[in-house]
């Protein structure tokens, strides 16, 4: 099972929120508009996750193939 982690480059993120729009299963927004990644990216949403990485206006997202860190 290919599991990926969505990582945010925090200094680059300016809270445009496209990632949360495209990938609500994995990303929600905090009260200031910044992404909270609350799930790992699994097979079904991988395509949308890639779209989110492409769509980010400041290229602040990366998809890392890895096992998730413990919460």
């Amino acid at each position: 099972m290919s599991e990926h982690q969505l990582r945010v480059d925090w200094p680059a993120c300016t809270a445009h929120g496209l990632c949360a729009e495209l990938l609500p299963e994995v990303v929600s927004l905090d009260e200031w508009g910044y992404p909270i990644v609350h799930e790992a990216v699994t097979g079904e949403v991988l395509a949308m996750a890639r779209a989110a990485v492409k769509a980010c206006p400041t290229l602040a997202l990366r998809l890392i193939p890895a096992a998730p860190r413990p919460a």
């Binding site: 480059d9 925090w10 200094p11 993120c13 809270a15 905090d30 200031w32 909270i36």
Partner: protein
């Protein structure tokens, strides 16, 4: 042991405007009575140690040497990662933590102990490039380091040592922030693609460690594992530098062997008050927990705290730990680099929520929520450390928290409500 003490130059001051007193120690601070000069240093301990990378890594592993910058990362692993071509050595003496003075003490009173370590590491990694980061607000310290480097060059040491001046900020000492400084950019954290030991300054393997860590490495390289273990315990050999009362009226830097009971480190009355351990990103301990503790990474971790950068701050007499924490979070919020949204927004919100809690009976839930929101969502550990401080306050002092929700303070600090 009766110890000589040295007061640091008056330019070095803590928040109360007082220079910390540095006591002679068993290992790193053994020679402070003879001054910071190279000749006295060499007379006392002989030539600088020169080892291969493998040997140095093994020694560090044998004594489980940990970094002294606060994170406690195993030095052996860092050394092994950086032991590749074209490595760079960076000595971090920027000491951004206001309550810590040990690195400044080392660089001022025993610069060659640190520089011997840096030289040993440079030799082991097969490089001549050494960078030393000093606090920009202490030109007297810079002068001492410049002088020390010059002495070594005259004595024949062939290293390319460059000095850098760290910005007077809390986050200036963070590893990526230091690398930015070395690259000529603003001394603030950025997202790291790889650990700096793998790819750091100019993409080269970079051994970036705290000044005290280099001092330990130099000492270890010289006396070997057995010599290093003369002090300390079997489980945790060696010594560590502590800054006591760094924010108070009689700040002190003391070298202490691992395993020393806290009762021998702190005064009797200090053991009856809450203790903030580790620094401003540290954790609180209740007075009841103190007498049973020794200066031990593992023992302190078992008590739910962390030795951090060796900072010990007994709460001032008559003060409330909640009020103190709220003031610290105010400071820490102001020290955000402002580069990451969750930190830039979350820490001031946390400061406000804490002020609410402490002075107006505001909800604890909001404070907890914010701690959860800022953890792990930044380029550096500044928000995490702040959240850790606040979480420890909530864990250790639940009665005080309840009391403040009802509008009274158990420490009896007057006039803080409404």
């Amino acid at each position: 042991m009766t110890s000589a003490t040295t007061a640091l130059p008056t330019a070095v001051q803590n928040e109360e405007g007082l220079p910390p007193v540095v006591s002679q120690g068993p290992a790193l601070l053994a020679g402070i009575g003879h001054g910071p000069g190279l000749h006295a240093h060499r007379d006392r301990i002989g030539p600088a140690p020169r080892l291969g990378a493998q040997e140095l890594v093994e020694l560090a592993r044998e004594v489980d040497l940990r970094g002294r910058g606060g994170a406690g990362f195993p030095s052996a692993i860092k050394l092994a990662s950086a032991a590749r071509r074209r490595a760079v050595v960076v000595v971090n003496a920027s000491e951004g933590e206001p309550a810590s003075h040990k690195d400044v003490a080392l660089m001022t009173c025993a610069p060659h102990v640190v520089l011997d370590g840096a030289a040993a590491v440079a030799h082991a990694l097969g490089t001549r490039e050494v960078h030393v980061v000093v606090p920009s607000e202490l030109p007297s310290l810079r002068l001492i380091v410049v002088r020390a480097v010059r002495e070594r060059a005259i004595a024949g040491e062939r290293l390319r040592v460059r000095l850098h001046d760290a910005a007077p900020r809390f986050v200036a000492g963070q590893a990526q922030a230091v690398l930015q400084l070395l690259a000529g950019r603003e001394n603030l954290p950025v997202t790291a693609r790889a650990p700096e030991a793998v790819s750091g300054h100019r993409g080269r393997p970079t051994l970036l460690s705290n000044a005290e860590t280099f001092a330990h490495l130099g000492h270890l390289a010289r006396v070997g594992a057995a010599g290093y273990a003369v002090h300390g315990t079997a489980d945790e050999p060696g010594t560590t530098l502590l800054t006591l009362r760094g924010d108070g009226w009689d700040p002190e830097v003391r070298e202490v062997a691992f395993g020393t009971p806290l009762t021998e480190v702190l005064a009797q009355d200090e053991l009856t008050r809450p203790l903030l351990l580790g620094g401003y990103h540290g954790t609180w301990l209740r007075p009841g927990q103190l007498p049973g503790l020794t200066v031990s990474r593992k023992g302190i971790a078992a008590a739910g705290a962390s030795i951090g950068a060796g900072v010990m701050l007994p709460l001032a007499q008559g003060w409330c730990p909640l009020v103190r924490t709220a003031a610290l979070v105010d400071y820490l919020a102001g020290q955000s680099a402002g580069r990451c949204g969750p930190c830039r927004n979350g820490l001031p919100a946390m400061a406000e929520a804490l002020q609410d809690l402490v002075h107006r009976g505001g909800p604890v839930a909001r404070v907890e929520e914010l701690c959860g929101l800022v953890r792990g969502r930044g380029a550096c550990a500044h928000p995490d450390g702040t959240a850790r401080l606040v979480a420890s306050m909530l864990t250790r002092f639940p009665e005080e928290v309840d009391s403040h929700s009802l509008g009274t303070c158990r420490s009896g600090q007057p006039g803080m409500f409404g």
